[in-house]
Symmetry: D3
Subunit: 289 residues, 6 copies
């Protein structure tokens, strides 16, 4: 667990610590939901920095919950099995055969890989799909009248299992699979699952790890903080556009659902989670109001 001593001078270190400790106290005992992209997965060895940061959070008394995606790996397996996919609005049309592959890869491969990485870093992670403990009740998603097959959206998050884990040293790692009232298995967008779980557990922070710096203003400068109303205005004005829109909308849904603040953070920055939580912040924070 021990890191190589930082090279900063003592006065700088002291300043960073004096700044960090009050934040640390503020998050003590609180839940922080981290959405981790499938493309950014570590290789499971001891050095995985994301896994180490998650373990540090738990060790200092914060309750992290991780939700992961897995787009690229699913595509590869479908290709190996010779299953072709079509897409509507960026969503993969998911027939029964495809769904089997999606679940197998997300819950059987990626989820376990991330679990193993966190455990190798000293944690006690447990992988869950939305079937475990009935965690994610889903309903079929329809988009503009098109039938997307087994693509779903969260209908209800059953958080009793997460509540049990909160009292223990267990770190939940969630694959975005849901189960319908009829027992069918559904493929759900990972960002959406992350936001819904964050709202269900009333997370103090929802960290959406992406590969951009955050929300930029008209001059391409990072906006450090937005209210929900301001974010909505920027979307209406077109300042927020393209792929950033669904990211921000997921954050807004989480904040509307009771999360104190959602943050779009650049997951490529080392220790991005620590910087966001224990300094004056990184990325773009969106809070209610």
């Amino acid at each position: 667990m021990s890191a190589a001593p930082s090279q900063a001078d003592p006065a700088s270190k002291a300043a960073v610590l004096a700044e960090a400790l009050p934040y640390l106290r503020r998050y003590s005992g609180q839940t922080v939901l981290v959405k981790y992209g499938g493309h950014a997965m570590g290789n499971g060895d001891n050095g995985d920095p994301f896994a180490r940061d998650i373990v540090l959070l738990k060790q200092v008394g914060i309750n992290p919950i991780v939700v992961h995606g897995g787009g690229p790996q699913i595509g590869q397996m479908l290709q190996r099995l010779g299953i072709k996919s079509s897409f509507i609005d960026g969503l993969r049309v998911t027939d029964g055969e495809t769904m089997e592959v999606v679940e197998m890869v997300l819950a059987g491969t990626i989820n376990k890989q991330l679990v193993a990485a966190i455990n190798a870093a000293g944690g006690c992670a447990i992988g869950l799909s939305g079937k475990d403990g009935g965690l994610i009740r889903a309903r079929k998603l329809t988009r503009n009248g098109s039938d997307l097959g087994f693509v779903g959206e969260p209908e209800r998050i059953e958080d009793r299992v997460l509540a049990t884990f909160r009292q223990s040293d267990i770190i939940p790692v969630i694959a975005p699979i849901g189960v319908g009232a009829d027992g069918a298995t559904y493929n759900i967008n990972a960002d959406t699952v992350a936001g819904a779980v964050a709202a269900a557990v009333k997370a103090r922070r929802f960290l959406l790890l992406t590969d951009v710096a955050g929300v930029l203003d008209g001059e391409k400068r990072l906006i450090p903080e937005l209210t929900a109303a301001e974010a909505r205005r920027l979307i209406a004005q077109g300042t927020i556009s393209g792929g950033m829109i669904p990211k921000v909308e997921t954050c807004l849904a989480a904040v509307d659902g009771g999360v104190e603040a959602a943050v779009i953070v650049d997951g490529r920055v080392p220790h991005a989670i620590l910087l966001e939580l224990f300094t004056e912040g990184a990325g773009t924070l969106i809070r209610g109001g």
Copy 2:
């Protein structure tokens, strides 16, 4: 959850109940490990009788733990992906590519299917592979000098996660995947995993569900109960032979490890688990001594 009323006459019912209740009390708060074969898996709908029996156990205060296998489904997926397997002593030689498929099918498909079936029957199951919570630390298995690849055996069971679940309404469902000290993933025989977990949690009963009636004597009559010493003698004498030998040896290992008794039960009999636990018994019970 309600069953159709039994057709037995009241006097018979009364006798069964008066017989069953003392057993029920004896197992209250105790752990029962059930090994469930991959070929006997239900279809996940409400009517799965195995799932219903597991839920009943939990509801009357017993802590069931389920370990499952998955041979047939793994073979099918390997075939679809065009991956060929060779076998040594009935064990599948498992290279890296095969291991990925084994994990994906066991942890991502079969495990979740069983979890969903139990939850559909009213339970709260959570699927675990040996990676979750570091549950199964494995080491490489060698057999007569042959290299079997990623075939392993349990080295240590880390039961703290199971201990957390024992206090809750969670039913653990375990896929027989282990993780090595070096982080490698191992494929382990499901019966062996079941026996090792039963020993680690000091289960009151280890029920090995099979597709035979139990251990037969020289006249092909079922032997209801054996001490460990008697079982060893029957193996030495050849009365126990063939595929029954590893079954009995798994039971002996569990009993040696602290399980009160291990039972080889015919999983094809409806409610075999209830009959074994709450009547004078079914199958062949092996106890220490």
Copy 3:
């Protein structure tokens, strides 16, 4: 405690068990009030089936409370002491000298005999009269202007002692004696006491053990279940008549007082209590509404 194995075949046993376990769970932690007739008392040896069933209930997590009567034994003792009794409406006119004998026989002889039988069957029974812990506050009963002496009816049940016992392994056995505000001792009908205690503790079930099968319809067939309203109608129509009327009225009072359901059961059937609680039922169940 161990019973002789039932003679039913495995399939029948399995069916009975699968039927019984959900009931068992439903009553777990719940209170069941059993009124046991004085004429049906066991002889205190290990084989008393009533005592064994009560012990089984406690052992599987149900809280039984027993209320008993004692008509025949009281009459015998009064006769031996040369004390003559007159009756009004079937109620024994009870002067001071009679009251002393009633209390002595109920609380000193019958109550202790039943306590000893339950303890011999493996339980931990404690006998209570309405004086113990101030359990039954009574008031003088008048009937059509006649003075019945120390015949009373329950005014208030002080259940704190029963609440203490509920947390322990103690089974309360109650003699139907009450104490007045003035300190006088009162003789109360045992069925009435049983119903009042059942209501005070909000029992899940009140089992009134009698020597008939239950309530019969016009064709002399057993009626398995009645709402309170239906029961009142059958009394008004004369279908329920004679000695069954006070039985049903006691049940109605218990149900009105908060008991989920009251059941008139044939106490002569072996294990009648188990059959009533853990199968689709015996006797006539009366529920509110």
Copy 4:
């Protein structure tokens, strides 16, 4: 509960209080066993001073347990029923018919009368015979080869029920009836029962209320305190003689069994219990050593 104000002057009152409070603290949470003679029974009204003192003890945090006798009342009832008794060494030869009367009077009449008196004084007493909770396991007593019938002595005190009561506001009141391994009912000397229960619960004090001042020395002066060794010497020397010998021997047995001190107190003195516990003492205290 409020008493008429004492007539002592303030300085005297202050001195008594300053003396009493340290004793009160010493007994807080401790068990005190009081043997109360059958001939000294109150009449159950609010003014019974013995009952009031017992209630006061419980209210200030001491756990009193009362054991009572009942000689005179038993004799009267036997006479009314025309049952003749013979005595050997002062012990009533007890045949089956006599035993029934003894139990009926002790457990059904006297016990309930004392319970009612304590409850009328504001307490929560529960009457127990040795059958309740299997409290007193007895064995047949033989004396010089004579058969005394159902006269017994305590073989084992099962104190789990008393332990349950200790946590509550319940005051146990015990009738000296025992139950044999064969289920037979036994009549036991009340002093002996009291001493045995005191030893079983490791009472801090065993107060044996009698109708004499205590143990007297050769000059007929009260001896305030004796070690067990000194008491044995006084018996050997003949200074302690007659009816005092069994009293002292009961005290010695209690002290040998783990009671800190046993005290022979004059129960005729008002508030004798309070004086003994909260002042420098009354009667004769016998302690181990």
Copy 5:
């Protein structure tokens, strides 16, 4: 701790005890605030009777809180340091230099002396000034437009520290120093602090120890009890006058603030606290209404 045995006769002792015990029960677990005058301080040796009584209260389950003054000792130290004081309405005008001395003497000398005396008597006292745990938030007091300097009055009592102590065996001893919102230190009248703390902790009794017998009526006879309304009337009528007025007003403020009753007691009487609490009372009790 053991006192010399009181000289009262047994019957008197018994009467005092029977009178005292119900009071003792009434105060069990309750908080009693005692204001102790600076002039009456003990010398810290084992014989300090005030300290012993406080320890006795704690030992019998009451929670005493002591507030002390310190006028004479402050004057002496100011004189030694050559600091002159002026008084307005009997209040010492307190400049910064004077305030330093006041705090030093109250919190550093008198407080520790009283703490040591209670600890020498077997207690576990902890001294607090209004700075400790932020106990007394004060504001500047002005009187008729005159500037009294650092003379304050309680603005808010922060009782969380006292609440922590209540669960322990710690006896708080409070010096009447307050701290302002601006961090300034304030000198506060000890009676006023005592009344304010009594109200903040909802004390069952507030005992104001003085050097007079209590409130006298027109005939100079002690008035044992007054309602708040009656006390106000006696002030208006002039029956209560002079130095007694602020005493009574302090009591009225405490009673208005939620204290059940405040008592003006003669602290010169030995064991005055015990007499007040455990007999029909001493001094003048003022209750709400």
Copy 6:
């Protein structure tokens, strides 16, 4: 509580945080004893950096205990009162009059000033002298046969009060005053008290804040870590000399008494406590062995 954001760049901050968090976890729930010199006292306003660091420790789950000295202020007050002192071996000969002033200044002025500073920074400090809760039992110190008057050394630390505080949010601040078996008050060296308390509570760290960088080697370079044996060798060799000797000996006594490590830290460095605890260290750490 919020500090001005540190000026370090994000990568440096991230490195400092990743380094600090594992330390933070290591000290969570542990006790850290800080000796704070009298000459370094803050002015009680919000900006006192020492007070802020102590509050931060408590807020992140560490239990700080502060011991302070007070040399300069004592000298000033003695001078104002015209009391002359003589010194033997650097220890002030303390007669009764001097002792009164020492206690008054330490417990009444300096202690309360430090308490107020910590509370102004958001903490809940409580000042204790060795009299409070009987914390420091002292004995007279003699030095080379000279009578030093009321100069003492710690004989026994009574830590039950500190144990009570550990469960709460209270921060104890201790003045180095002891009380003798005879009730006399003793003046004790603050470093010695700090080491004794650290040993009594088995502190994880004992931080001795001084005005030098730490222990220097022959080349005047700071020695970051020493075993106890090495420290003793450096004293014997003369490398450690002068005023550093008693500092190191106090550390050695603490380590011998069960403290994991004692650290001589430069208290003039801002946030010295944070740097020592949450980075690879500052000053000279001495550990057992």
